[in-house]
């Protein structure tokens, strides 16, 4: 794959990641009570783990590739947070004797994450930093929507629902931080 290092290339890629389309398939079809098949607690557990693992994957890439202090600090933060959430989620489902069951949404999350990882891996310097931060905005927006529209409404077990409610502010904080990162990258370009 061609290495994108030019500003124009970076701009195009960042826009593609920000829109969540173009280079990747559209947002995963997460079942909502109104639209798709209902999600079981086992499905929800699989989605939570897949979502966390996706952002950990992106963070690992950022820590391996970016030399920008803000990007690295952000990646360190999201990696710590998603690992903590995964730990809490796994502990909970283990205690509840719920085995995560993969579903279309969790498969989509994994596939999307791998596709994006392969694209990001080919980028360098500012192109990578721009695309990574744009992707973080897109990813966290999508996850927040999924939590609000699908996971919390669908969760049957009260503790699982409470965990999702607890996770939400962290995802929202990541999104806010990612938006600020994108703005900084935009200023850097000028």
């Amino acid at each position: 794959m061609t290495r994108f290092t030019s500003s124009l290339g970076a701009l195009l890629l960042a826009a593609a990641f920000a829109s969540g389309c173009g280079l990747t398939r559209s947002a995963p079809g997460v079942g909502t009570p109104a639209s798709g098949p209902a999600l079981s607690d086992a499905n929800i557990a699989a989605i939570v783990v897949a979502a966390n693992n996706a952002d950990i994957l992106y963070a690992d890439l950022a820590l391996a590739k970016s030399r920008d202090a803000d990007i690295r600090a952000f990646a360190t933060m999201v990696k710590k947070d998603h690992e903590a959430v995964n730990q809490a989620a796994v502990a909970l489902v283990t205690r509840l004797k719920v085995t995560p069951v993969d579903n279309e949404a969790s498969f989509d999350l994994r596939d999307d994450a791998e596709t994006k990882r392969l694209i990001l891996r080919e980028l360098e310097d500012f192109a990578f930093d721009s695309a990574y931060s744009a992707n973080e905005v897109s990813y966290h927006r999508s996850v927040l929507g999924t939590i609000d529209r699908a996971l919390i409404p669908s969760a049957s077990n009260a503790e699982l629902k409470a965990l999702l409610v607890q996770v939400r502010p962290a995802v929202a904080a990541h999104l806010e931080h990612a938006v600020a990162l994108v703005a900084k990258q935009g200023a850097r370009r000028r």
């Binding site: 360190t76 933060m77 710590k80 903590a84 502010p169 962290a170 929202a172 904080a173 931080h177």
Partner: protein, 124 residues
């Protein structure tokens, strides 16, 4: 992490979710500015929840102890320049600090840089 200075007494308590010992928060009247105030020899809790310190502003008195409790699902820390720096607190863990001087102490979570809080330490 920097150690506490001689001017302050740092009490680091990790309770690992056990709930902690009961404490009596000796609070005075709530002032009109909405900040909580202590009356000396009191313990005040700052709850860390939803990626925020609650309350964000706290007025305490010399002799009081402030206890930060992580009630969040993710880890946080509590750092204020050279005054104090907690370890990373997992859910349920606490960090306690007793100011040794009056003044305003600003602190933050270095993991989530947008999380900020402030203590105002006054004489009893």
């Amino acid at each position: 992490m920097r150690p506490a200075t001689l001017a302050t007494l740092a009490l680091v308590v990790g309770l690992g979710g056990a709930g902690g010992a009961a404490f009596a928060a000796a609070r005075g009247q709530t002032p009109q500015d909405g900040r909580e105030r202590g009356s000396g020899e009191g313990r005040h809790e700052v709850r860390i929840k939803a990626v925020a310190f609650n309350p964000t502003s706290l007025v305490v008195q010399l002799g009081d102890t402030v206890v930060w409790r992580n009630a969040d699902i993710v880890r946080h820390n509590v750092v204020s320049g050279e005054l104090f720096a907690s370890a990373e607190l997992s859910s349920g863990e606490t960090f306690a600090w007793a100011p040794g001087d009056t003044g305003t102490v600003r602190y933050r979570c270095t993991i989530h840089p947008r999380m900020r809080g402030e203590l105002t330490v006054r004489l009893p």
